[in-house]
Amino acid sequence: MSTQTGQSTRPGQEPIDVNDPQVSRFDIVREGARRDDIEIVHYEHQVAPGSKAERRLVRTVAGFFLLTGLAATAFLVIYIWWPWEYQPGRGGDKLFTPLLGVTLGVALLGIGFGILTWGKKLLPKEVSIQDRHEGAVSTEDRTITGQTMLYMADELGVRRRPLLGMSLLAGLVPVGAVAAAPLVGGLISDPHKNNQMMTTGFSPQEGQKIRLVREDGRPIRPADISAGGQITVFPGVEHGVSNRYADSPTLLIHLRDADAEDSRRNNEREGHGGYMWGNYAAFSKICTHAGCPASLYEQQTNRLLCPCHQSQFLITDNAKPIFGPASRRLPQLPIEVDAEGYFVAKSDYTEPVGPDFWERP
């Protein structure tokens, strides 16, 4: 299109005959704009057609598109032939994804910048002004629409025939409930079923005390943990080492003599006398704050840190929270050693394990 915008008489303000073979295409465009209340006030080619600048820009745009073709081809070649299967180490397979990313990214950026350069540099610059027509809603129209709706309401006659309205309400409310019922009823699940919030895998089964076992299911002897050591233990029941017993993982800690002395004394004070066995104490690994495994045990300070929100518990003082957002101490598991020399839980935890909730006793 080779059109010039006259600056003098503000063309495009007067309607023109679009079927007149004399008018240029741009005039028709401007007529269309006029009909949409748009005034094209400025329309100017940025580069003269056939000029050196135009040729350079065309070459740039073409360059971008060719770059895209190259990169996309490279992507396909890499995708098909690059050795991509996982190998340990730092082999070529580790370059597969980065190479795909680079080739795909370059291909897409090539299209993007090609199109952008085309649109931004080669197309004419324009400034158009369009009316917003805001508040142009005529009050008359509002009246008409409003009256129409009121008229419809009158025709329905809900006000004159109150029984209709009431019976409709009485009929539809249960229907709405019917829509919600299967969803709510299907999803709802009693949290206190089998007393599941208060018990863990350590609650004795048929009078049998539950052993503390390792992650591979082996029971634990006192000699298995050195002083200053800790081990994650699980209830020795079927699937005890699995997410089915997500509340049960427990930290068994072998305290040093002096710390154990402290700990025992504090236990007595809290009425937890006899919860420890020798210098061994077992605390729930599930943080009472948000349920992460609080398991960063510092063997010299006897602090237990939770990595999620930095609550810190003092193991030697009944795992009392001493820093951070946790407000409740970690429940302690009463332990002893059975006749065969393995650790067992004397009973289940004596308070609920894990994050707090409203009806916790």
């Binding site: 940025q46 996982y86 340990p88 180490g89 730092r90 082999g91 397979d93 580790k94 597969f96 994804t97 980065p98 990313g101 952008l116 931004k120 540099k121 610059k125 992650e215 000699a223 298995d224 943990i225 050195s226 002083a227 200053g228 050591g229 800790q230 081990i231 994650t232 003599d257 002096a258 710390d259 002395e261 402290d262 495994p293 398991s295 960063l296 045990y297 510092e298 063997q299 010299q300 300070t301 006897n302 602090r303 840190l305 990595p307 930095q310 810190q312 003092l314 030697t316 003082d317 009392k320 001493i322 820093f323």
Partner: protein, 277 residues
Amino acid sequence: MTSDNDRRRGLLARLRGRPVARSRGRRRLGAAVRLVAALMLAGGAYTVLAPGASAQENPPLSGAAADGKALFDVSCVTCHGRNAQGVEGRGPSLIGVGAASVEFQVSTGRMPMARQEAQAQRKPEVFSPDEVDQLAAYIQELGGGPVVPAGDNLHADGNVAIGGELYRINCSQCHAFSGGGGALSSGKYAPSLKPATDRQIYAAMLSGPQNMPVFGDNQITPEQKADIIAYIQTLNTDGDPGGFNLGRYGPSTEGVAIFLVGIVALVFASLWIAGKS
């Protein structure tokens, strides 16, 4: 640095006469520790002062151990005391810590300590490997204790998958999924495992340095230790399949990246797109 540090620091501050705010529990703990330390010191003093007691009952030191004792008396005696009995408020007794502990602390440069702080840091090591061996031999002969098996490659027949599972259960809570380390309470931290050698990792598990719990051979067998070491070394040697790993810090650096790279790049692009041509 905060008010409540590990007990060694608390005692030190006390010796210097600097008031350190401590909770009642910590004070009680400190009292217990002081009691134990005083008893140990008294015992140590007795052993030293009792005429001829130690000299005759201890077997003579081997050659390496004698060299180690010479090194010890020059570099370590200030804090750990004569015959490694420990000095209250400065350094613990080294009787019974074993060669593993010496090897870990000295070969990573943590000992000798430059100054008392929340936790000894890894530094360029002061002693050569031979000297570390001599020191280790000396401490070993003094009181026994855990020893790292011979050899530099301790993970040759480790199973990476089993090691990974053990690592996640026992190690990742402090050293992070990547082995990059993490923060502990009050300025303490679990160090990065990247620079650690097989022997150092093994020694750390055996001896439980600083606040790290002890993972003795009774708890994690030597084979399992080899598995864990194999996994840790895999973390270091296995490349990242997804490009630059952003330091393996988890979502926090990913959040930084999306703003510094993604948003910044696209804002520049939009500046160009909407700019006057």
